[in-house]
């Protein structure tokens, strides 16, 4: 297996993976969206809200704000997000004991009042009890207050997974894509350059004697060049053992952390499966 980093930025990572089956890459991709936990506001106590936005809208906006989770995914790992989910569930369900639920939450506060002129309340105005959990972006407008309006809110954030609600999903984009091989039949090619012209990613280049591929990894297999070629001289086929994984982060976790955590969760689940299978070794099972 050969893995190389194609691009890395503050909020995105692109990895080239050779020799790993697509289903495994797809599992990592899906786990990045649905299973890697992050922090997000889950409960909001409205003490005062005379703003023009409804309480529900305010609570929803606060939930969407990405909270820094690099430290929190270890710090608040116990109890697991599945247990904490029950702590916020409706009254009818059986709740875990209060001392367990206490460990789930980080309290944050938001207080703002417009006295004599309009003010915009930003995510940066949220005060957190835990210095390791805070809004990643300080300039997200939450509400605009007209003179005389005020809000006073207590927020409770906890770890959760994208599986439960998309606000906990650490990745905004997680995609895998194919790598192409471009074959040009030199006998048929008349160097008309139509494929070069039509390529949206500018992958091809025309030299005096042949059509050259500049950067094969830029090709998105759109097959425009095949359609444009009058002599059917060019063909684009996906490689069967090389893929590109692209993950873009909401800001809650670093993109590299998302990949690592996704792989870790996948591995630990497979290990559990393996343990179960080993336990069954030698056991006789009667067919139903």
């Amino acid at each position: 297996m050969n893995v190389s980093l194609r691009r890395i930025a503050d909020n995105a990572i692109e990895i080239l993976i050779q020799g790993l089956p697509l289903p495994i890459i797809n599992a990592i991709r899906r786990y990045a969206l649905a299973k890697v936990p992050t922090m997000a506001v889950d409960e909001v106590a409205i003490i005062a809200n005379t703003s023009a936005l409804f309480d529900e809208i305010l609570a929803h906006r606060l939930a969407m704000i990405p909270l820094y989770s690099e430290v929190a995914i270890r710090k608040y790992a116990e109890p697991p997000p599945e247990v904490c989910a029950k702590c916020t569930a409706s009254e009818a369900e059986e709740k875990p004991p209060a001392e367990v639920c206490k460990k789930c939450f980080v309290h944050l506060y938001l207080e703002a009042e417009a006295v004599d002129r309009e003010i915009v309340v930003y995510s940066g105005d949220i005060k957190s009890e835990d210095p390791d959990v805070y809004p990643v972006y300080n300039n997200i407008p939450i509400v605009i207050l007209a003179p005389g309006q005020k809000i006073l809110l207590e927020l409770r954030a906890r770890l959760g997974r994208g599986l439960e609600h998309a606000k906990w999903s650490p990745a905004t984009v997680a995609v895998s894509r194919y790598v192409a091989t471009i074959e040009v039949d030199k006998k048929r090619c008349n160097l008309c350059g139509k494929c070069v012209e039509v390529c949206p990613r500018k992958v091809l280049e025309l030299s005096n004697t042949e059509i050259k591929v500049r950067d094969i990894y830029e090709c998105i297999l759109c097959k425009q060049c095949i359609n444009a070629c009058p002599n059917k001289a060019i063909d684009v086929v996906p490689k069967s053992d090389e893929y590109i994984l692209y993950i873009e982060s909401s800001g809650a976790l670093k993109p590299a952390t998302i990949v690592r955590e996704a792989a870790n969760i996948l591995i630990s689940e497979l290990e559990e499966l393996l343990r179960k299978v080993v336990e069954w070794r030698g056991r006789k099972v009667t067919a139903q």
Binding site: A52, L53, M64, I144, L145, S250
Partner: protein, 65 residues
């Protein structure tokens, strides 16, 4: 009403870039150039900023006490 915190389609936190976007556009810059500068690549996120009208600034004066 007010700029949505995230892009409806992909979940990218576009609200963090709203103020810079609208200020630069108001100053007369080409919205396309501002969006490119801000690194907003996908058209789902671009329409969020392009099509938004900040109505809350007007509506907030009509609340009932």
């Amino acid at each position: 009403m007010i700029i949505p915190v995230r892009c409806f389609t992909c979940g990218y936190p576009i609200a963090a870039k709203w103020e810079e976007f609208i200020e630069r556009v108001k100053r007369g810059e080409d919205p396309k150039k501002v969006l490119d500068d801000l690194g907003i690549k996908r058209y789902c996120c671009r329409r969020m900023l392009l099509s938004h009208v900040d109505l809350l600034r007007e509506a907030m004066y009509y609340t009932v006490r």
